[in-house]
Symmetry: C2
Subunit: 293 residues, 2 copies
């Protein structure tokens, strides 16, 4: 299959590599910086514009930083939509605004192509190991067309519902992860400041209703003080920004998400944009003049 | 062993029954209401006061609603401390203030007896099935003395650290459970209002970093709209009250715990004091004029 891959950054680069290793022909967009050598040596061809790439591809995959980047790549004068062949399939694997996504899907479908939103979780490690979780929004038919590609990239692949549903699930995921980190941070800092050993508290709580992946993984990081990413605070801030922006549009109050975003901002104020998101605990530590110890 | 059991309510009654079934002699305090018939028929003897009970018991166990009840039972003129034999052991299995607990332990140890704080989680069902999680604070020696009794009552039994540590762990547990409920509520309500199927979102998220016992159990309750307790909001409010009170004493900010407590209060305002704590989502639904559906 001819796959146009737009966005070969930290995530997209290994993902494109897995598709190439699966026997697909890759098309990339040539920018000022050189294309990844392992992809061009593997036969990937460079196109001058996204429109040119779309004109030759059966499937166009996007893996870009944010909503505006996807809009630009799709709908600029020399963007994907300008060259897209009828009957082709656009898959946006970026994590972007769910409400804008519905609009993008409608516009792409309006010119005779199919559209899936398929954001991922699992980060750089998941991308490299082809172990991403993929949350998909779109039609059953488009999902079945894309499934063999998704299976090259990830393991936990779910069609959530119609267009936008993948992005909605991803936002929901990021809300829970942020708030579970905040919960573990409040609890372990409380335990520590009150005079108990946070490691023993964590171990005791893992057996009951407080058990979570975040208590297991990020709780341990808070105790060990290992805040190397992992998942960077500035990326989680972007995701909570999507949550709070969409919630405002929908007229929905997300009070603890809003607060977690402020705690991330406080981390950034202390130089922590690139700390692991479990370092959210540092904002509470600063507020309470205390440290988990 | 002669066990004085103070507080044979919803939790204490089945717990005392398990100890009696284990061959121990029970002593109870006679109040106006009749004592549980299965305990008196099993040979439990009634004492006029807690002091009289303590004078005959090797171990005194308390299972009472709140900090003031425990203080009264221990230190009133006719309380446990007034009759306690030197060398005996007091075990407070109530969920009460961790900081007051350290004071109670010091005062009991001052009169030559040992003290453990050993709050539980697992609720009525855990008490009936002898499947409680027991979090213990106190000396290793006292813990080993009490262990055979704990093993009649529960399964996940941990010595956390010195006096007060059991109560600290219990408070930490209740912080995480409340905030994980709030997290799942924000995420599933967001998903639903944004137009995705919350059941599919929950299922997709269970495989990743958002996974938790609360997403599994309470998330399903939010989707099914089954808010029968479970664990009653008014009891979780009491526990968050302990968290916020102790945090204030310690000079610690717990912003999301404080907010969760307000959401519980909003549930109570709508008649929900006896709803299951997963019904915290209803406060967010009221704020957002939306329902998970």
């Amino acid at each position: 299959m001819k796959i146009g891959f737009v966005g070969v950054g930290i995530m997209g680069r290994p993902m494109a590599g897995h598709l190439q290793a699966g026997g697909h022909d890759l098309l990339l967009v040539q920018h000022r910086s050189p294309l990844p050598s392992e992809l061009t040596e593997g036969g990937a061809r460079a196109c001058a514009t996204a429109a040119e790439l779309a004109g030759q591809a059966d499937v166009v995959i996007l893996m870009l930083p944010d909503t505006g980047d996807v809009e630009q790549a799709l709908f600029a004068a020399d963007g994907v939509a300008a060259g897209l062949k009828p009957g082709s399939l656009v898959i946006d694997m970026s994590s972007i605004d769910p409400i804008a996504t519905r609009d993008f899907a409608a516009r792409i479908e309006g010119i005779g192509a199919a559209y899936l939103d398929a954001p991922v979780s699992g980060g750089e490690v998941g991308a490299r190991n082809a172990a991403l979780t993929i949350m998909v929004g779109g039609s059953e038919e488009a999902f079945e067309r894309a499934r063999p590609l998704f299976e090259r990239l990830g393991k936990n692949i779910t069609l959530i519902g119609p267009a936008g549903s993948g992005q909605i699930a991803k936002v929901a995921n990021q809300i829970i992860v942020a708030l579970n980190i905040e919960a573990v941070a409040e609890a372990l800092l409380f335990a520590s400041k009150a005079g108990a050993d946070p490691a023993r508290v964590r171990a005791a709580l893992m057996g009951g209703f407080a058990a979570s992946r975040v208590l297991e993984v990020h709780g341990q990081r808070m105790i060990d003080r290992t805040f190397d990413p992992g998942f960077r605070i500035r990326l989680h801030q972007k995701d909570l920004g999507l949550a709070l922006g969409a919630a405002r549009t929908l007229g929905l109050a997300l009070p603890n998400t809003a607060n977690a975003q402020q705690l991330f901002s406080s981390c950034v104020a202390h130089g922590g944009a690139d700390w692991d998101h479990s370092a959210m605990v540092r904002s509470l530590e600063i507020m309470g003049a205390a440290t988990i110890a």
